[in-house]
């Protein structure tokens, strides 16, 4: 193992161990009934939370592709309205004979490894509360520094800033939640390339019995190279169910999000001139299915 690898391994283990130590002293958090949407709830002042997201992505037009994206987060309530968080994103990626989505006439190198992808900060500020105002409203800001492309596993230095507007409306004594997020994320890659991500998510969740909620989530993701809104590289629509369990001491949310439709469906021709395409989905920058498990523990 090289010195760099050893240092990265040490940092990862240190982070995981720190999380573990924190969580031995549980009390509890800023929980979400959704896998992909954010709600307007925020951590109360002075509270800490640990959260982990595990997202499995699988299914390309050709070859074998599986990724388990991990996001470990430590969050703190700076005030009752403002929270801040530090993320470590990493992932286990295994792929065999999968085309390069940037140029499908070539294949990505076959791969099976765990890597660190990026670190990021998050700030969330609640403007209106769904419990006391007609509509809950929160703004979200996340600067990020990446060293690896989580889709392809390739080394890539990239900076990005995610902006999110979160709206929430509750009904039936707050048992039924409707939430919607609008996300814009400009990205700057090493070498001068830049890109704009747009994402719209919405969903509902109903608490049907003590501790348990069931819901539905919708997600549309679009990308615009060179931040040119007149040139959309791709768009993919996802829709799926979620289930949430929350208690005083921990919570977990599971979301299944298959891609329903996407474009372009035809990604181009491989080295032999054969088209790589799916009948309904965009399988270049996305996959057929995503499954996300989130859990949180208040510290």
């Amino acid at each position: 193992m090289t010195k760099t690898k050893s240092v990265k391994l040490f940092v990862t283990m240190l982070f995981a161990s720190t999380m573990t130590l924190f969580t031995q002293n549980t009390s509890f958090a800023d929980e979400s009934s959704f896998g992909y949407l954010y709600t307007t709830d925020s951590l109360p002042k002075g509270q800490w939370e640990f959260e982990q997201h595990q997202t499995a992505r699988s299914g390309k037009a050709r070859g074998s592709y599986f990724s388990l994206d991990l996001k470990d987060e430590i969050e703190y309530g700076i005030t009752d309205r403002l929270s801040g968080a530090l993320y470590l994103k990493s992932g286990y990626l295994t792929l065999t004979d999968v085309y390069n989505p940037e140029d499908v006439s070539t294949n990505l190198p076959n791969l099976s490894s765990y890597d660190i992808n990026c670190v990021s900060l998050e700030f969330k500020y609640r403007l209106l509360s769904p419990y006391t105002d007609a509509l809950g409203l929160t703004v979200y800001f996340e600067p990020e520094m990446s060293i690896r492309d989580h889709m392809t596993g390739e080394s890539k230095t990239e900076k990005s800033v995610e902006f999110r507007l979160i709206a929430q409306k509750n009904f039936f004594d707050d048992q039924l939640i409707f939430a919607s997020n609008l996300m814009l994320e400009p990205e700057w890659e090493g070498g001068g390339a830049k890109e704009l991500w747009f994402e719209w998510t919405m969903g509902s969740s109903y608490r049907f019995r003590e501790n348990w909620s069931l819901g539905l989530e919708f997600r549309n993701h679009r990308e615009y190279p060179n931040m040119d809104l007149g040139h959309q590289e791709h768009s993919a629509f996802f829709l799926g169910p979620n289930v949430h369990y929350g208690t005083q001491s921990w919570w977990a949310t599971l979301t299944l999000l298959p891609q329903i439709v996407g474009s372009p469906q035809n990604l181009g021709k491989d080295a032999n001139g054969i088209e790589i395409a799916d009948a309904t989905k965009h399988l270049g920058q996305h996959e057929k299915l995503e499954i996300r498990l989130k859990f949180g523990i208040n510290l």
Partner: protein, 178 residues
């Protein structure tokens, strides 16, 4: 090339992330203890009354709150003091609370019997509960109006406030049968 970590490291990360989770519940007061906290030294008899459809309609119209439980747990005594025991929705589970109402139809005090939520334990604090003292069925009882919200515990504050408003209307509706 991005730094790679062995499967051992990956396994370690997952293992350390599988954190021991401790669930616990919190019962602060029994019903008997709540009676003594609100009306010290007084003797009460426990009754359970069933609400009719008309009762429910009246209570819901006057309180603007949904009636979830058609049975009312009431402790009554000879001098006309009453304690109603009820449940309000918390974020995860029900919050059990009691409202003491004097023979003059005013709130003597409220007590939180069971609270199992992650946050919002401030609803048990006397400073917050004493806002309800002296309120009657004519009071507004709205968060951020005549009841101060607890920042960081808004859901619990809101649901308990609505619960007290509903119980005062429940008392007005069924007091002749108590």
């Amino acid at each position: 090339m991005a730094p790679r970590i062995s499967k051992t490291g990956f396994g370690f990360l997952l293992t350390t992330s599988a954190i021991p989770l401790v669930a616990y519940s919190q019962v602060y007061l029994t019903e008997d203890q709540a009676l003594q906290a609100i009306f010290p030294g007084e003797k009460f008899v426990r009754k359970i009354l069933e609400l009719s459809k008309n009762d429910i309609q009246t209570i819901e119209e006057k309180s603007n709150e949904r009636v979830r439980n058609t049975s009312v747990v009431a402790w009554v005594n000879a001098i006309g003091n009453v304690i109603l025991v009820d449940q309000a929705l918390g974020k995860h589970e029900f919050i059990t609370y009691a409202v003491g109402i004097t023979s003059k139809k005013q709130v003597k005090n409220i007590e939180i019997l069971e609270y199992r939520e992650t946050y919002g334990y401030q609803v048990r604090q006397e400073d917050w509960r004493k806002q309800f003292i002296g309120k009657d069925a004519t009071a507004t009882l709205k968060l951020n109006k005549d009841i101060v919200n607890i920042s960081g515990a808004t859901l619990s504050s809101s649901h308990i406030t609505g619960g007290v408003r509903r119980l005062l209307q429940t008392y007005e509706t069924i007091k002749e049968r108590l």
